[in-house]
């Protein structure tokens, strides 16, 4: 842990609220489980209401990010609860299932709602999950290029992921972390609702984000 460079550089710690949205059974809980516990169950109980989890990652030698994650229930009728989750969120992962074309439509609706209702600077990532199933080409219902084009147009990060094989899961959350405004400082625990998160610069340096990651 104590990398020689780290001791001389500034150390940063930031906490960000992340919300997972998307149609039911696209793999939201599985993505979180893979990210937080590095586990996978073929059959995961459906999420009722919501689950709260945290995970801390080292972005580079000097930067630690803690995600506070709201994993939400996907059924349409729970949608009215969503504003409570995304109201103060700094980032969102909107998930669809690459084998279900309709789940991308649902994802697009979520993106629209977030862009209209959530914090102005919210970082949104689109995740096409169940990539492992694409080994059978007949199962894929959403082409990568199609989703990617949409994501680019809407200004989203984009990954195709597999919670089952772990492919791109860490990459997804790391990419979000890198895009979050670390330099915007706020007092720890003073939970200002703004999208700036609660980046805390422990030693006062500001160039930390530039090293170790080529975003």
């Amino acid at each position: 842990m104590a990398h020689p460079r780290a001791s001389t550089q500034s150390q940063r710690f930031a906490q960000f609220k992340l919300v997972l949205l998307g149609e039911s059974a696209v793999g939201k809980s599985s993505l979180v489980l893979r990210f937080v516990k590095d586990q996978f169950d073929d059959y995961r109980e459906s999420t009722i209401g919501a689950a709260f989890l945290t995970q801390t990652i080292a972005l580079d030698e000097t930067t630690t990010i803690k995600f506070e994650i709201w994993d939400t229930a996907g059924q349409e009728r729970y949608k009215s609860l969503a504003p409570m989750y995304y109201r103060n969120a700094n980032c969102a992962v909107v998930v669809y299932d690459i084998t279900q074309a309709s789940s991308l439509d649902k994802a697009k609706a979520w993106v629209k709602e977030l862009q209209r209702q959530a914090n102005e600077n919210i970082v949104i990532a689109l995740a096409g999950n169940k990539l492992d199933l694409a080994s059978d080409p007949s199962k894929r219902a959403v082409e990568t290029a199609e989703a990617e084009a949409y994501a680019r147009e809407a200004g989203l990060l984009f990954f195709e992921t597999s919670a089952k094989t772990a492919e791109n899961v860490k990459e997804l959350f790391t990419a979000i972390a890198k895009k979050l405004p670390l330099d915007q400082q706020g007092p720890r625990g003073g939970r200002a609702g703004g999208a700036g998160g609660r980046g805390v610069d422990l030693k006062g340096g500001s160039a930390a984000q530039q090293q170790g990651c080529n975003c």
Partner: protein, 428 residues
């Protein structure tokens, strides 16, 4: 249609990784050692209680053959005490059905369930139901059996062909229910309620118990706008505020640390954790035996049980809750507290003990508060229909009566209601 009652194993071996209902003993929150340590003592309690129940039935002139009793003694303080100490697991289904008034509903609707099932398995909600069938109790052997040793991984299609009888029953119950009660249709969490009932009774009885649960115990909770859920969460929050002020000071606040405004009708964010307790009758929140002990009381005593138990859960976690300093940490703490309450007896005792218990929360209080809250929503809807409430970022949640709601509705403001209920409580 299979009509045999499901069976519950009376004794299980400590070597068996599953409990008497078929659930895995070990969970993410309870180790196998913790389970066995508790269960060794609990088995003794069960034996003792079973003998007491046998005497009670004999004294009441009721028989219990191999299939167990069908009729149970009339309600009394003694029976209530017996219920709170736990119904023998193998009699549970029959006792729930008896005391919740299942027979009355079933007789009035004789043949209706079969008719619904005979209409086939189409429902506007079929797709949603199918998605959840295999996500209901995958840790229960009756829902998802262990693959035979040495078998290779099965494809999804193969697994679905191996569907167990209880999964097929669950499909029929949920489809029939979604058609019979269109204002609810299918709501996630009904799969767990119905699935649990199916472990204890025939599918026809499970169907009617699901109807009773969703209409009498959790009115409106599962309806499309989830308004009943929001109503109950508010009632619960008011109860915590009065009964557990120190816990309230930790959980009642906003995410930014600001205090709860008693004049607002807005729900505190902690309800994001607690709403699932009610929606699924504590399934998935409490360990299995604790859920079943709660349901024993619920079907005998009514919906006040849910509020009393929720308060007892908070009370159980008081030390952890008080130790929380970070406003976000509270979610993880509150979410985890019930999952570790393996000692079902202690939970129930804590709930009903005379000093610092919650047995004083009356059904009358709960019902009055529910009604007041419903009135608030009705008034709000009327105001929105008139265009009287300013559209804001929150209008989506206001429409459904959930989430952040502006209060500008005069007589039904939270403060007034709070004052009124204080009076009721004093009276009680």
């Amino acid at each position: 249609m299979p009509s045999k009652n499901p069976t519950v194993a009376i004794n299980q071996s400590p070597k068996d990784p599953r409990d008497r209902y078929g659930f895995r003993k070990q969970t993410q929150y309870v180790t196998l050692a913790e389970y066995e340590e508790w269960n060794a003592r609990y088995e003794e309690t069960l034996d003792r209680r079973r003998k007491k129940w046998e005497v009670l039935l004999r004294e009441s002139g009721l028989s219990y053959g191999e299939g167990g009793p069908v009729r149970f003694p009339p309600k009394s303080n003694k029976v209530k005490r017996y219920i709170r100490k736990g119904i023998p697991p193998e009699w549970r289904g029959a006792a729930w059905f008896w005391y919740a008034g299942g027979q009355k509903v079933l007789s009035k609707n004789a043949g209706l369930y079969e008719e619904l099932v005979n209409k086939g398995l189409d429902s506007p909600d079929s797709e949603l139901i199918e998605r959840d069938l295999h996500r209901t109790f995958p840790d229960n052997i009756k829902f998802k059996p262990d693959p035979p040793p040495g078998t290779k991984r099965l494809s999804k299609v193969q697994q679905q062909q191996l569907e167990t009888p209880v999964v097929q029953q669950l499909r029929r119950v949920l489809v029939a229910f979604s058609r019979y009660v269109p204002k609810i249709g299918y709501c996630q969490s009904l799969n767990f309620l119905a699935g649990m009932l199916l472990l204890f009774m025939t599918e026809e009885k499970a169907f009617w118990m699901l109807w009773i649960l969703t209409h009498q115990h959790l009115p409106g909770t599962h309806e499309v706008n989830l308004e009943g859920s929001s109503v109950d969460q508010w009632v619960l929050m008011m109860s915590v505020r009065e009964s557990l002020p120190q816990i309230w000071s930790k959980i009642g606040g906003e995410l930014d640390g600001s205090d709860f405004d008693p004049t607002s009708t807005k729900l505190p964010p902690i309800t994001l954790c607690t709403s699932s307790w009610f929606m699924s009758g504590f399934i998935g929140s409490l360990p299995t035996e604790s859920v079943l002990r709660v349901w024993d009381c619920l079907f005998y005593e009514g919906s006040k049980t849910l509020f009393r138990i929720a308060l007892a859960v908070f009370k159980t976690g008081e030390p952890q809750i008080k130790a929380v300093s970070d406003p976000m940490e509270i979610f993880q703490v509150v979410q985890t507290i019930p999952r570790k309450i393996i000692d079902a007896g202690a939970l129930i005792e804590g709930c009903y003990r005379r000093r610092n218990g919650f047995g004083h929360i009356s059904q009358e209080t709960i019902d009055l508060r529910r009604q007041d809250r419903r009135d608030t929503f009705a008034a709000e809807r009327a105001a929105i229909a008139k265009g009287g409430v300013r559209a804001s970022k929150d209008d989506a949640s206001m429409r459904t009566g959930l989430g952040h709601v502006n209060n500008g509705l005069g007589a039904h403001g939270g403060h007034d209601i709070g004052r009124r209920f204080k009076k009721i409580l004093v009276k009680a």
